[in-house]
């Protein structure tokens, strides 16, 4: 039981990163844009928040936690949305191929992040020296009142930094937006059949731009959570963000494009990813095989939804295609 509680805790922290990534990508994909730049976008979000608060914390003697958090969130969201904007401009306005553009965005984002991450490390005197204690503290603040609940329930549900709960709220909001609001309906129409949506008077270009940029911004918060809570304000150039970003893309498929499923799906991915630590007596080599699980499960889900052919579980019909009104 103790083992399961700590596994669950690890899974929630891990899952929150990819939940942000996946919810953002679901909104993007619902507009018909398959943005394979999620890892790059998460990189951009993570490094920008770190740069922002690094300069803020170093410029004042007594940094305010609230300002730290605001700067970090703003920087992460804006930088990630900017990544989304590059993608949007190239794929929506210039009709470039989405896969190619997305992969380039990932290369670009990882380059930018690791370059500036390395420079920040240098500025602060070497790898591991970079510290943003006030901001990291700010993000690791737990929910007041609830965090004092003891016992297994308290440990499993109420002892995380507040951003973990924000992720759940964002996922629920995204779900309500997509399934209940007029704008959400329009967005889904754009992703399913842009020509029909266009004929119905929906501004396809505007919807695609907004969905991609806002979606990217949300994905970027995953990078923020990774930097501030998961690694506690350090920058390590080890490619973890990239593999997390691809897991977020996998999670989008796993949820069958529904943000609400991302809430439990992300924790399940976390459990699948970390379960090897709690199995006694397996070799280090076999541990690596266990880390395969989230991807294998995703492939199985992908096969399953294509076998069942239930319409509501399919990817958006126009996913990956650019729209040009005069094409037939």
């Amino acid at each position: 039981m103790v083992g399961f509680i700590s596994l669950f805790q690890q899974a929630v922290v891990f899952g929150t990163i990819i939940m942000f990534g996946a919810v953002g990508e679901i909104i993007t994909e619902k507009s018909g844009n398959l943005n394979l730049g999620v890892p790059g976008i998460m990189y951009l979000g993570g490094i920008s928040s770190l740069i922002g608060v690094f300069f803020y914390e170093n410029s004042t003697d007594n940094p305010s936690k609230l300002v730290c958090a605001l700067i970090a969130i703003l920087c992460a969201f804006l930088a990630a949305a900017l990544g989304g904007l590059i993608f949007s401009f190239l794929t929506i306005t210039l009709r470039a191929n989405q896969n190619v553009t997305g992969l380039t965005l990932t290369i670009f984002g990882s380059g930018v992040a690791n370059f500036f991450g390395g420079s920040l490390n240098q500025l602060s005197g070497g790898v591991g020296q970079l510290r943003v204690p006030a901001t990291s503290d700010a993000f690791r603040t737990q929910l007041p009142g609830l965090s004092s609940i003891g016992g297994a329930v308290g440990k499993m549900f109420f002892q995380y930094g507040w951003l973990a709960y924000v992720a759940i709220v964002v996922a629920i909001l995204a779900q309500v937006f997509l399934s209940k609001s007029r704008a959400g309906l329009n967005l889904r129409a754009v992703g399913e059949n842009p020509a029909t949506a266009d004929a119905a008077g929906i501004n396809v270009t505007l919807y695609k731009y907004l969905a991609t940029c806002i979606g990217a911004g949300i994905s970027g918060l995953g990078g923020l959570y990774y930097v501030m809570d998961f690694t506690q304000g350090k920058w390590a150039n080890d490619g973890t963000v990239e593999s997390l970003g691809w897991l977020a893309v996998a999670l989008v498929i796993f949820t069958t494009w529904r943000p609400k499923n991302a809430i439990w799906g992300s924790y399940l991915f976390g459990i699948l990813y970390w379960v090897y630590m709690y199995i006694v007596g397996i070799s280090r080599a076999s541990q690596e095989l266990f880390k395969m699980l989230p991807y294998v499960v995703t492939i199985i889900v992908l096969i399953f939804i294509s076998l069942r052919k239930k319409r509501e579980n399919q990817p958006p019909e126009a996913l990956g295609l650019s729209y040009f009104r005069e094409d037939r």
Partner: protein, 374 residues
Amino acid sequence: MTAATHKRDQLVRMVRRETMPLWKSVMVRLIAVVASLLVAGVIIYLLTGASPIKVYESMLQGAFGNSAANYAQKSWITVRDTMMLLCIAVGLAPAFKMKFWNIGAEGQVLVGGIATAACMIYLKNLPPVLLFLCMVGASLLAGAVWGLLPAVFKAKWDTNETLFTLMMNYVAFQLTSFFVAKWENPIGSNKVGIINQGAQNQQGWFPSIFGQDYMLNVILVMALTVGMFFYLKYSKQGYEIAVIGDSQNTARYAGISVKKVIIRTMLISGAICGLAGFITVSGSAHTISTSTAGGKGFTAIIVAWLAKFNTFTMILVALLITVLDKGAIQVATQFNISKDMSNMITGIILFFIIGSEFFINYKLIMRKKEKEAA
């Protein structure tokens, strides 16, 4: 037409272009590359304060050497890496031409590499010719299996291949980690180390030809490049691929078995990517690690796409990207900044080239003056 309706016309209108003369499309791309180099130069200047001319000079030195002593060595490494990238892109060409988005090259290269390394480790006592046959066969087979899985599901149940092949990359990635931990040498290092090291051993290493260690890499990849060009352009199978790429319905109507062609093409595509793993492990790295493919599987997608599936154009694009990469690493070392800058610069340059495609595929028409219209 009255002036009132005219006001509602867009200022700029875009129209799809049917064709563009070759020289024009080459010019567009050249302008894009030059513009991107200028932007990259400005960024490097802002970051390092070094004059852009110096930076470009240093980039060229990074790719081709800066003294008589290392011209040959540096250039050969650039050629070797270009060949690796080219080989994967050539493998992707038939799949992409069929509009089958094989994003799984990274994984296909890795499993090809694992198969090669396994042969080098377990079969090193075989006669060299037999060993090489095993290595080639195993890597082809491994890559083909990795390509076959998504293809079968695509053909039978229309499973989204972009997402499937993407996921297969990470299965391959963890599989590589598994074998690295299994074969680690020395124990505890979590690295496989150089396989069959030592002048007396070197079983399963590419022999040097004309005194060049990487000559065989060049010969193999160039043969594949030429072969793939003719396969796509002049063979019946290549034609079937082109028809399916244009329209699956047309292909069905013409009596082409779409399922069969999808599966066959992905077998070929995966197998060539697996062979790229063989060429890397046996022909240059002599080891296997999770960075054996090193992101080249993804970069090759961009190469294949930008070259519009023409394998000869791919040589140029692959060379350009490799030179940029080597150059940026040199700049980083010389000006004492992080070598991750190379990815940033590559990204910027690719953004420009990708964007320039627009001007090749579409033309912009300005609104006519009212007098002319009236």
